[in-house]
Symmetry: C2
Subunit: 238 residues, 2 copies
């Protein structure tokens, strides 16, 4: 079930909009806001959402974190490295896996831009979600943290499959042989195959080289066209 | 080996800075710029990098994509859904795995903000890297695309391990028994165990409930303190 993204005391409307955009990119639509600093709705949110208006329109506002996650069975608190935490810490990947497998709803808490979640907010969560980050430079903003979590979650969803590719199948072997024969015929005239006792080795090398790309029929035709052009003929024999 | 991040004809210095910040979060430091629109260095890049200055300082500028990836064995072109592509398409996850396994350097190309990579840029790449995205709302900006790729790459690196947690081990069973005995003693006075033939069932239910959290010794002591307080006693017997 899709997790709920809870922004706890967000400061700038612009960042709420960016978080909405980040969510919708990966199919998440349910945003909850806990006492946004500048009230709600916020006119700065819409432009920053770049078209993810549906997320903002459906966003619900709550007076406390506890109320915002009242219907959620699993609550994750997103934090950067925290010393002395006494809850399990999971990566976005692990959290996504758990959220997908969980029978009830899950909520993922994100803290205010500057300070992050307060200790009381974290206390309410069952687990801590931390993005593993460069220990010497950890500087994720709110929307970036949201997008990484949403991206991981989306991986298990149908929508997340890569686009279908229409790769041409490799050309049949006989077409490769025709191409090779053409090349070898051209090389025979050049002295390339000298000394003669090395011919088998040279041929094998060329063969390896030319079968490696898995060229399609069209590509083989193109190569042969190139060879023909090099040989000074307009048409090649097939 | 760390991949090289190549920004092809980036427009805004601010976005170059944001991309640098995204990279350094996940340990990537080598940025190459192909004919940035507003020249280089760009005064808008620094502030947007939020401290990732080292990436900007080391950034190299090239006159063409071909020159920028001249020393790279693997080149990936990052695009959104592309119709009719005739190259293999990989996800950030697959690309990251390949980059880590590749013997030579890898380069990942990102196109200009508005238009994305041109057909000629893509032609130069060995594979296409596409972030699987909501088919009804695909709106990733440059820095977001960079951060997702950098994040995936970092997963295989040592730095990406989640922070060590100092979870207290669950309390030994005898401490749980002591706690349970205390609770049962308190409940016995309340009529909670009525009717008497249901006592074993009720006890089992409580036991299940109280062993489930895997409380630590400290937590068990806290619970017992709570019980003691409820029972109106300052100290509990252990």
């Amino acid at each position: 079930m899709n997790p709920v993204i809870v922004l706890v005391r967000p400061q700038l409307g612009e960042n709420i909009g960016k978080a909405a955009r980040a969510m919708l990119n990966f199919g998440l639509t349910e945003m909850r806001l806990v006492t946004p600093r500048d009230g709600w709705p916020n006119p700065s949110a819409g432009p920053a959402a770049s078209g993810a208006d549906i997320v903002l329109e459906q966003a619900q506002v709550f007076a406390s974190v506890a109320e915002a996650v009242g219907d959620c069975a699993q609550v994750y608190a997103t934090t950067v490295r925290k010393r002395g935490v006494t809850k399990p810490v999971v990566t976005p990947e692990e959290a996504a896996r758990e959220v997908r497998a969980a029978p009830g709803r899950s909520a993922i808490l994100f803290g205010p831009e500057r300070s992050g979640l307060a200790t009381d907010d974290v206390a309410l969560a069952r687990k801590i979600l931390t993005v593993p980050i460069n220990p010497e430079f950890g500087s994720l903003n709110l929307a970036q943290a949201v997008i990484l979590v949403a991206y991981e979650w989306s991986k298990g969803q149908g929508l997340a499959s890569p686009p279908t590719t229409h790769l041409e199948p490799p050309a049949p072997q006989e077409e490769l042989e025709g191409m090779m024969a053409q090349l070898e015929g051209m090389l025979a005239d050049t002295g390339y195959y000298y000394p003669l006792d090395r011919v088998p080795t040279i041929r094998r090398t060329l063969r390896t080289l030319l079968t490696k790309p898995s060229w399609s029929s069209q590509e083989v035709r193109t190569v042969r066209g190139v060879l023909s052009a090099l040989a000074g003929r307009k048409q090649h024999r097939s």
